[in-house]
């Protein structure tokens, strides 16, 4: 048992760092993913992974293949896209899914233009997106900082965020915080995604954000426990995935995401709000 579960982490520093980094990211992404899912913005992660291309391209144009400027560029453009789409959906007739699609496509096209114009043969994104097995101190610090920012941010505006999701018109009638809170939330989304891309790659970053949240939906009917479950599922998936990657020699990112995927399928089937429960006829009911 020790050999299977603990030894890989005890013997290899890179495994410890991989575990630490992915656990911290799961902690940070879980609640963000829950809110994204509840607001029907689940595909934002995918869109964002394409949208940040011009940011990375501009970083590359000025500084070459240096990770830091490319990441900063990615965050700046990611914020522009997310906040722009958010503002459009708030203050105009357009809904969030459409405005996000529009903005990310424009950004992506712009990015491809920049890359082609400069004539680089290197796949910028291939260079920018990291792997969980290669977390150096800078990457770990980045993930930790993002996690701290996210937890503090969410903690501060929790009540407003829930109100904004549940009854935005009511919130508007008692406070002006609605728009600010929404944009703050989008900022957290971008930070988690872009920081995650750079440290861990797109699949892992987006996957850790959305899959545990999607799975958690089947287990509980309140937001706070849902966030807790998402964090829990995320963390266990990271652990399981890394162990599978180690023992069965499979790529680490996909292994973690597939572990989360297993949780998801199990949740659909046997979760208290899942499919089998609703299909199975209840045997008895209370008299009152």
């Amino acid at each position: 048992m020790y050999d299977i579960l603990v030894a890989p982490f005890a013997h290899y520093a890179f495994m410890q760092r991989a575990l630490l980094g992915s656990l911290v990211l799961a902690l940070s992404c879980g609640p963000v993913g829950v809110f994204l899912m509840l607001r029907r913005m689940s595909l934002t992660g995918d869109a964002m992974s394409h949208a940040i291309l011009p940011g990375a391209a501009i970083g590359f144009l000025f500084y070459g293949l240096d990770i830091v400027p490319m990441t900063i560029g990615g965050i700046v453009v990611g914020l522009l896209v997310a906040l722009g789409a958010g503002a459009v959906s708030r203050f105009t007739i357009q809904k969030e899914d459409a405005s996000m699609a529009a903005f990310y496509l424009i950004s992506l096209a712009f990015g491809v233009l920049l890359v082609s114009w400069h004539g680089s043969s290197v796949d910028l994104m291939h260079v920018l997106f990291g792997t969980v097995l290669a977390l150096d101190n800078a990457a770990l610090t980045l993930i930790a900082a993002i996690c701290l920012t996210t937890l503090i941010g969410l903690g501060l505006v929790w009540r407003a965020l829930v109100a904004e999701c549940l009854d935005p018109l009511f919130l508007r009638s008692v406070s002006r915080m609605g728009a600010v809170v929404h944009l703050l939330f989008l900022t957290l989304v971008v930070l988690n995604l872009v920081g995650g891309f750079q440290a861990l790659g797109t699949l892992l970053s987006v996957g850790l954000m959305m899959l545990p949240a999607a799975a958690a939906r089947f287990w509980t009917n309140r937001v706070a426990p849902m966030c807790g479950m998402a964090i829990g599922i995320g963390m266990v998936s990271c652990l399981a995935g890394l162990l599978i990657s180690f023992h069965a020699s499979l790529p680490s990112g996909p292994a973690i995401i597939l572990s989360a995927g297993c949780f998801y399928v199990v949740s659909i089937l046997v979760g208290p709000r899942g499919a089998l429960r609703s299909l199975a006829a209840p045997r008895r009911h209370r008299s009152a």
Binding site: P8, Y12, F14, G119, V122, D123, T131, S245, F246, S249
Partner: protein, 316 residues
């Protein structure tokens, strides 16, 4: 690269005049090379008679390259297209179709004895490594990096000379002469490499790079290369692969660790950090360096690689 593109486009436009005019006046032969290494070989064979357009330029990664419309245009105007073959260029078949080029597409690995991906050089038995290496592979069953062996590079050169002769009979004499000169240089290079390696103690001939690009070099010259990523930079490393490399270094079975010019450096740095091995420098595997860099021609590349390796091993 953009300068070459512009120039090539300009020249291509001029070639709208009938082929008769082209061959009679000894104008340039339009050659498209799929990546920088074979472009350099082609330059040495063709000399001034050829105008070469390279698709995947210096420091470029052909494993993940996405072609642009300009590439298709260059292809369509080419007289000869030189490619590596053995599924190295994933983008190639689509590009050939789109450009509808009339030029012959010459695979330079014709005549090379390809190494199967499961091949292990004689004298090295690492059965547990095989599974790890297999896991990262796709792109066909053969290792495409044939140019890493100088003997194979000589075959490439001969194929190039044949291709040029076929497309431009008038210049055949020049091409053959150039090829012969260059082949001599390559022979000298090979002797130098073998001498260099002989100077490295046998037990220290194991090193670590980013991806499995040096199989042919290994096979020909007796150095062993280990890598976390498989044959293609598109694949992703597994924790087991990385752990094996760390073990390898720890048990003093690997002497040096190197970055490559076409991949993300972080994984290699991670292994270096964990094992305390310093990164020995950058090796050039799938592409030449920029003109100002240390590996701007094939010969420079091989020299640079072997010297960097030797310095790192003997210095450690």
């Amino acid at each position: 690269m953009s300068k070459i593109l512009k120039f090539a486009s300009l020249v291509s436009l001029m070639m709208l005049s009938p082929a008769l005019l082209a061959t009679a006046s000894g104008a340039d032969l339009n050659v498209v090379a799929s990546f920088s290494i074979i472009a350099d070989l082609a330059k040495n064979v063709g000399g001034d008679r050829v105008e070469i357009t390279t698709i995947v330029g210096p420091d470029g990664d052909a494993h993940v390259y996405e072609p642009k419309p300009a590439d298709a245009v260059a292809m369509s105007k080419a007289d000869v297209v030189l490619v590596n073959g053995l599924d190295f260029e994933g983008f190639l078949s689509r590009l050939v179709e789109t450009s509808a080029t009339a030029a012959p597409v010459v695979e330079l690995t014709r005549g090379v004895t390809p190494m199967k991906l499961a091949d292990e050089p004689a004298g090295h038995a690492h059965p547990e490594d095989e599974a790890a290496k297999q896991a990262g592979h796709h792109h066909g069953e053969y290792d495409p990096h044939a140019w890493q062996s100088i003997a194979n590079a000589e075959i490439y050169v001969k194929n190039i000379a044949d291709a040029f002769c076929g497309a431009d009979k008038a210049g055949c004499a020049t091409y053959t002469a150039n090829a012969t000169t260059y082949l001599d240089k390559l022979a000298t290079l090979e002797t130098a490499v073998k001498t260099s390696i002989a100077g490295i103690p046998k037990e220290k001939r194991v090193i670590i790079t980013s991806h499995d690009a040096f199989g042919y070099f290994e096979h020909a010259y007796g150095l062993e290369f280990l890598a976390p990523e498989g044959i293609s930079t598109e694949s992703e490393a597994s924790a087991a692969d990385v752990a094996k490399l760390v073990d390898q270094v720890r048990h003093d079975k690997a002497s040096a660790i190197f970055l490559e010019n076409v991949t993300n450096a972080s994984l290699i740095r991670q292994i270096a950090n964990e094992t305390g091995l310093k990164v020995g420098g950058t090796l050039y595997s799938d592409a030449l360096s920029q003109e100002t860099g240390p590996a701007s021609t094939y010969i420079d590349m091989v020299h640079h690689n072997i010297e960097t390796i030797k310095a790192a091993i003997l210095g450690s």
